[in-house]
């Protein structure tokens, strides 16, 4: 083992000299990071070789997309690639985690999870959507502890227009106690009702049976509150503990929140770590990241017991790909006072996130020894096209009156309301935010997406504008080509690519020679390297 590490250290020293291909280089992991120690050990156990490292160009693109939902700017790529100070990757991660776009991106993720939309079947209504989204956005910006954020979500009462967190229990298509219970299980524990028997679910639902809603004279205002008539409720928590609550003295929702958010309860931390892992990789630490198995009731006492062999998940084959890593992530999350940013930091610094994507072997993917290739989220792809061409789509809604128009340069990532969309956004799989399940976001590739990218008149117009500016701002063909590649693929063109370009340019007759620029941009927009995370 020691020998193994020293090999890595040696190669670390030669990082700067390591000649990398376009997409990967031979070494560059920090072997002393605890998360890497766990991963290396896991890979060794699975007989998997430590994977090659993603190249700098690939890495900055990954970090920018994952943390901030955008492509890196050409200047950012240039600075990063030519920076040869040690620890530049960790510094880059901090830069993107502390950018304002970090909160934009994570607010979109949270809005999907919390089903923030005005209309069917959630019906938060526009004013509430704005308040709710903005509040969550600002809390993510300051990295508020998720423990306190979720405590507020689970216990807030008040007007949907004034108390942002009170919208949590409104954002459910089914507001019956069982419907709310299912929603709470999915949102806070990444679990489905199928993990529980009918009577267990009913007993759990009693904790939400006193929630009431009433409207006011203000149009579409709704107050969330608890039934003021004191009642004695006998309910059961998801771990089976029976509780008797006098609602006159205690809000039953608080009983659940206190249980969920105490430090020796892993359910919440397990759920959040799987969410963030899923957001970073398109797959979770558990294969079914939002359909997690149950833990046995005695597990809440101690870590070792927690993940012991008595875990009921064994039977189902629903297990984390690496239990030690799952434990570590949970412990780190709790130690950091439930900091979302800390989870992202851990993940993006890990060898799993920095691994090359060149070999997409399923066995490697399962063990996170290869970075999974997958299509960009709808909003990110549309925003990337817009950012490169400086031409944004317009978003508006005719429902309800008065009409809503988002400002002209709005990014799709920043659309607060799941009910406001566009045909293009929908066709690339923007989730309807009806249930909050991961599967709502459609990742499939379809012919209509291809038609948009290949043949949209609107996109052509923007692409031609981009080329006009390019020709105005750069005199030299090499500089122009560099700029196109940096803007779209976050890297410099290779020598081979320069040659292919030259060959194509000279093959065009004089009359159509100017098309070489728009054609090159078109080709890169339609390339997998642009459309996919890699």
């Amino acid at each position: 083992m020691r020998k193994f590490y020293s090999v890595i250290i040696c190669s670390l020293l030669t990082v700067a000299a390591a000649c990398g291909s376009t997409f990967e280089k031979s070494s560059g992991y920090d072997p002393f990071l605890p998360v890497n120690k766990i991963l290396f050990k896991h890979w060794q156990e699975k007989n998997i070789r430590v994977p090659a490292v993603s190249s700098d160009g690939v890495f900055i693109r990954r970090v920018a997309l994952t943390a901030a939902g955008r492509l890196p700017a050409a200047a950012e790529v240039r600075d990063f690639v030519f920076d040869d100070t040690p620890g530049k990757r960790a510094k880059l991660i901090e830069k993107f985690l502390n950018s304002p776009e970090y909160a934009d991106m994570q607010a979109m993720r949270f809005a999907d999870m919390l089903r923030i939309k005005s209309e069917f079947p959630i019906n938060l209504w526009p004013n509430a959507v704005q308040l709710y989204h903005r509040t969550i956005h600002d809390e993510l910006l300051t990295d508020r502890s998720l423990k306190s954020m979720f405590y507020d979500l689970l216990t807030a009462s008040g007007s949907n227009f004034r108390t942002a967190h009170a919208n949590f229990f409104r954002a459910s298509a089914d507001r019956s106690p069982t419907g709310l219970a299912k929603m709470v299980l999915l949102t806070t524990m990444n679990m489905r009702e199928t993990e529980f028997s009918k009577s267990e679910l009913e007993d759990f639902a009693k904790l939400f049976s006193l929630i009431r809603y009433k409207s006011t004279y203000e149009w579409k205002e709704e107050i969330v509150y608890n039934d003021p008539v004191p009642q004695v409720i006998t309910a059961r928590l998801p771990d089976g503990t029976a509780v008797t609550i006098d609602s006159g003295a205690t809000d039953p929702r608080k009983v659940f929140a206190d249980w969920l958010l105490q430090d020796d309860n892993p359910y919440f931390a397990r759920a959040v770590t799987n969410k963030v892992w899923y957001w970073a990789f398109g797959r979770g630490i558990y294969p079914q990241a939002d359909d997690l198995p149950r833990l046995e009731s005695d597990q809440r006492s101690f870590w070792a017991k927690l993940w012991g062999s008595s875990d009921s998940s064994t039977a189902k084959g629903d297990q984390p790909f690496c239990r030690e890593l799952q434990d570590y992530m949970i412990a780190e999350f709790q130690k950091s006072n439930y900091s979302l940013k800390h989870l992202y930091r851990l993940i993006m610094n890990s060898a799993a996130f920095q691994a090359s994507a060149v070999n997409q072997d399923e066995e490697l993917l399962k063990n996170f020894a290869a970075y999974p290739v997958r299509r960009l989220e709808s909003e990110l792809l549309i925003d990337a096209l817009a950012a490169v061409t400086k031409g944004y789509d317009r978003y508006m809604s005719v429902i309800p009156e008065p009409f809503t128009y988002l400002p002209g340069s709005s990014k799709a990532v920043n659309i607060a309301d799941g009910s406001i969309s566009s045909g293009t956004l929908d066709s690339f799989g923007r989730p309807p935010r009806d249930s909050g399940q991961f599967s709502e976001r459609n990742k499939a590739s379809t012919d209509s997406q291809g038609l948009y990218l290949m043949n949209s008149a609107a996109l052509y117009r923007r692409l031609n504008n981009y080329c006009r500016n390019l020709q105005r701002n750069y005199r030299n063909d090499n500089e122009r080509l560099d700029r196109i590649y940096l803007d779209i693929l976050s890297r410099y063109p290779t020598n081979r690519e320069r040659q292919v370009f030259k060959k194509y340019q000279t093959s065009l007759d004089k009359k159509s020679r100017h098309l070489v620029w728009s054609d090159t941009v078109w080709v890169l927009f339609n390339s997998k390297e642009f459309i996919f995370y890699h």
Partner: protein
């Protein structure tokens, strides 16, 4: 001996596979004892906002100015049927369609009423149901071989809810955008933006393949292969003829004028061209009918456009012998208050009215020249045979060859029937050309 329901149930089970893989034949659309072919395409004319039944298919000439604004009725080419004087051309086609004058439900909000009229369900169950267009697009995708999407909206979506509900995004309507009344109907993505020749497209594609370092370096995976297939499909659309359906300039000047040079009229023409391509479900979402203020002034514009486009569509489909296999239904989510509000700020406006309104059906196995139900003297309540949204949807499904009592195959594995169980009792059997 198995009866028809059993048979359909069995077929539905087989259909689950076919519906998602586009490989099965039209298993679901084959009730055994049926002679005529089920409707191949459906055109929905969605009079978005709610048309006044009094100024369309249920005029009340004797109700007085407070109700009819002094507008009257005219005879049609079917004895005994009279419609509003706003629709003289449709009056000449009355033998081709039937009028339901006793539509009713209980919700006066656009959103909820649209959802109800489109899905046959009230919202609130925790599930967003798919609209009829998405369901038919899915169940008919086995027999539809065209390259255009199976559900097309001219020109915008309704936008009240995700119309594919819990079904795959593939059955979301393609909103064409643009305006078919423009010199060129530019359906973004489907119609070439111009300036790029076919040879250049080929040359560019070769350049793309040569430049593609990524594909050269990476081992393939499912996602990448799926993307490649989708790109090939898209290229097939671009090089094929299907998208020509959107090129209305291929029609003669006379034909374009016949439908009226209006957005609505040219939408009707585009719908006919899409029917010829075999697209299973087309919806025309007509706009501007939510006439709270100055209703009669608005009708001066809306009426003639609607009259010309819809009548030309009926006549043209019938001449081309397509009306038998094309089912048309035309409705708003509700009607408008029969009593006119002459006060400020409405100045002769009509509001939302769900208690009684009119729907028109034609072709695809519906008989023409009939009236179902009737409203009272003011058009405020049905006086005979009230028809609910489910009754109407049930009949459309049946004539399109789908038993709405069958299970609806879906990717989320909800155990649900297409329409609420037992909903077929009051279906519009009196309008079926042939009893099912």
């Amino acid at each position: 001996m198995i009866d028809r329901r059993e048979f359909l149930k069995m077929m539905a089970m087989c259909g689950v596979y076919g519906a998602f893989n586009r490989v099965s034949g039209n298993l679901l659309a084959a009730p055994v004892e049926r002679k005529r072919e089920p409707a191949r395409s459906v055109i929905e004319i969605w009079v978005w906002g709610g048309p006044s039944h009094l100024e369309t298919f249920d005029p009340k000439p004797n109700a007085g100015k407070a109700y009819n604004g002094d507008y009257g009725d005219i005879p049609t080419n079917v004895k005994g049927i009279r419609i509003s004087e706003f629709l003289p051309k449709l009056a000449q086609q009355a033998d081709k369609y039937s009028i339901i004058r006793s539509m009713c439900h209980r919700t006066n909000g656009h959103e909820t009423a649209t959802y109800l009229m489109q899905t046959g369900r009230m919202p609130g169950s925790g599930i967003t149901y798919p609209a009829i267009g998405a369901v038919l697009a899915m169940l008919k995708s086995g027999s539809y071989k065209g390259k255009l999407p199976p559900y097309i909206a001219l020109t915008t979506n309704k936008g009240r809810f995700s119309e594919n509900g819990f079904l795959s995004d593939r059955f979301k309507p393609l909103a064409t955008g643009s305006n078919p009344n423009n010199p060129q109907f530019l359906v973004d993505g489907f119609v070439a933006p111009g300036g790029v020749s076919k040879e250049h497209v080929l040359r560019r594609q070769k350049y793309a393949d040569e430049l593609d370092s990524f594909t050269r370096s990476i081992t393939s995976c499912r996602e990448l292969r799926e993307f490649e297939q989708a790109s090939l499909d898209a290229q097939a659309v671009l090089s094929g003829n299907d998208a020509k359906a959107f090129d209305l300039n291929l029609e003669s000047e006379a034909m374009r004028n016949r439908y009226g040079r209006t957005r609505f009229g040219q939408c009707c023409l585009a719908a006919r061209r899409l029917v010829e391509m075999g697209v299973p479900y087309i919806t025309i979402n007509a706009q501007g009918w939510d006439t709270h203020k100055k209703h009669f002034e608005s009708m001066q514009k809306l009426g003639p456009e609607f009259d010309q486009g819809f009548s030309a569509l009926l006549e043209d489909l019938s001449e081309k012998k397509l009306l038998d296999t094309t089912l048309i239904w035309c409705t708003g989510e509700f009607g408008r208050t029969p009593r006119v509000d002459y006060q400020e700020p409405w100045n002769g406006g009509r509001n939302h009215f769900c208690h009684c309104f009119s729907t028109v059906v034609a072709g695809g196995g519906f008989v023409g020249g009939k009236v179902v139900g009737a409203s009272d003297a003011h058009g405020e309540r049905p006086v005979e045979r009230p028809v609910s949204p489910v009754d109407l949807l049930w009949s459309i499904y049946e004539l399109a060859g789908i038993d709405p009592a069958q299970k609806l195959p879906n990717p989320r594995n909800f155990d649900l029937t297409i329409l609420p169980p037992g909903g077929g009792k009051n279906k519009l059997r009196e309008l079926y050309q042939e009893q099912i």
